[in-house]
Symmetry: C2
């Protein structure tokens, strides 16, 4: 019979200790985690630190291209990377439904450690709660992360200027449609693969190339590209103009979106970034991005304008212009 | 009609932004949180850092003496404090069930900010996911925290020596029985108040008094005092001997435990610590603890012995001796 997680695995007692030692420590093994103190401790340099957290509730927990574990690590790594930080240490906290398969938990931990390795970050502390059947849908993971921002790096939407260019690092909508496809059992479900990946090495390369040219960075997750651009427009009190025919979208994703009446601009990504770059640095940054695995299909999709303030507009394929509003209501729940 | 949290509040779009601005930012307002970037950023000194995380799934979410918000902040502050760190910055991540009352969320945020203020820590980043009815039981909160460990402070069970004394900072079992009382609707439910409180100031006072005398510290939460002592015994490969008549337990808690067949040694605390102290420093530390609000009823409850290795034993009121094992199975689920 397959081993399942029991309520007692969350009691803090013997079974908790065996779960932690036999499963978590074995998968996540590293010298900072190992003492299992109340806190992980490590030496840190003086400097500017980035700190972030996110909860992951994706449904289904396994999807083409990844699972909730890979998502949880990459999401937090990417949030750190978007502030220019080098991700150092991660925490992982699990809320697990009684009866969850131990083998599934092992797969998830395995994905987490793999993603952390890709990013060059370490999972150094964690927590596990087990709740009764029906009190949580399978498993939720919350990851937090800390990283150091290299001297002189200062990335913020407040630096966005008129004339800046908007770059997206690749095709949009892959993650959201991969998850949705699985959920609904659509035929396209095997063709669309989530883009979930750590972007910190891509960001490091960009900063090495043109540190001052990178004004703002963000990963367009929940709410998609449209929401990220609206956040930039609002934070900078400037306008952003994008061109529909410049935005890279895979044919399968476009087709699936059309089928379901969704706009890829609002679909979640988990391995893409949007950069607002100074006009002078844009070409060198684009070239640099395209050399990186996660930026091969990077494109300049638009520019920053003096107005209308706080508004994102799009020039459509047929030459019209419309406003791209922030997502109103709910497009796709439990996508991340 | 009372305002409720909708799925769309978790979409990343307009409603998410209004929830964050009108509720979260208003309650948690501080300059590091306010830019709402992907990460919070702050300057930090070179040194030894502590990093911790915990998920809170307590049921019910409001209980005598606190709520899930106060618990989430104090729990993480205390985990930092137990490694000797000064808690600096906290993150808070929420998974909320669709239909949750906005007024309840506001109360919880209010408790969080109050507890963070008591501890002198700041909540600087967060995340909110809203999931469909039945996918989570009301609300789960995950908090993480970072803090700096003052130069020269080194608290670890590996420093525990034969002859060290064991101090508990006050009466045990209050939190677990307060939560259980609410849940089961027992008559004692109004008399027992959770001890949930930040202990970092108490720890700072102890370290100021006798830094080298504090060998190990831990807050006996899930699994209670028995589990913490077992962890100490195992980590140090020494024995720990405690005396039943020295362990402070409130009469109401003792009575409630007897009624339900529970052993207070295994019941969760959220505002207590266990310190293993060098023999020479014990009296000065005890005096110092008793001067602090959260240590008034501190008692020396036992000592460290050369053996049997890894074993905790208790001398009972009637003079017998028995082994205090780590909790086997589940005593009280969803207590924290």
């Amino acid at each position: 019979m397959e081993r399942r997680i029991l309520l007692a695995h969350g009691s803090g007692g013997k079974l908790t200790h065996s779960l932690i030692k036999d499963l978590f420590l074995k998968e996540l093994k590293n010298p900072i985690l190992e003492p299992l103190g109340d806190s992980a401790t490590f030496e840190i340099d003086r400097g500017r630190m980035a700190f972030t957290t996110d909860s992951y509730v994706v449904d289904p927990i396994f999807f083409p291209g990844g699972d909730i574990g890979r998502l949880a690590v990459c999401g937090t790594v990417n949030d750190l990377a978007m502030s220019g930080a080098r991700p150092l240490y991660l925490s992982a906290s699990f809320v697990i439904e009684e009866g969850f398969l131990e083998s599934d938990l092992r797969s998830i931990l395995h994905s987490m450690i793999q993603a952390a390795d890709e990013a060059g970050a370490k999972i150094v502390c964690g927590d596990t709660k087990v709740v009764g059947r029906g009190s949580v849908d399978k498993i939720f993971i919350t990851t937090s992360g800390v990283g150091l921002i290299p001297e002189g790096v200062d990335i913020t939407p407040l630096k966005i200027e008129v004339g800046d260019q908007v770059i997206v690092s690749g095709c949009i909508g892959d993650h959201g449609m991969a998850v949705l496809g699985m959920r609904a059992g659509f035929e396209f479900s095997s063709e669309i693969i989530s883009d979930v990946a750590p972007l910190n090495h891509l960001v490091a390369k960009m900063l090495a190339e043109a540190k001052d040219g990178v004004h703002a960075l963000r990963d367009p997750t929940r709410g998609g590209l449209a929401t990220t651009l609206n956040e930039f427009a609002q934070a900078s009190s400037l306008g952003i103009k994008i061109y529909e025919d410049k935005i890279p979208v895979q044919d399968e994703v476009r087709g699936a979106c059309e089928l379901l009446g969704l706009d890829p601009l609002y679909v979640a990504n988990e391995g893409k970034l949007v950069a607002v770059t100074s006009k002078n640095s844009t070409q060198v940054l684009l070239t640099c991005m395209r050399k990186n695995t996660h930026g091969q299909k990077a494109e300049i999709i638009g520019e920053v304008t003096s107005g209308p303030r706080g508004i994102v507009s799009i020039t459509t394929r047929i030459g019209g212009t419309r406003i791209v509003d922030m997502l109103t209501g709910e497009q796709l729940p439990r996508i991340c």
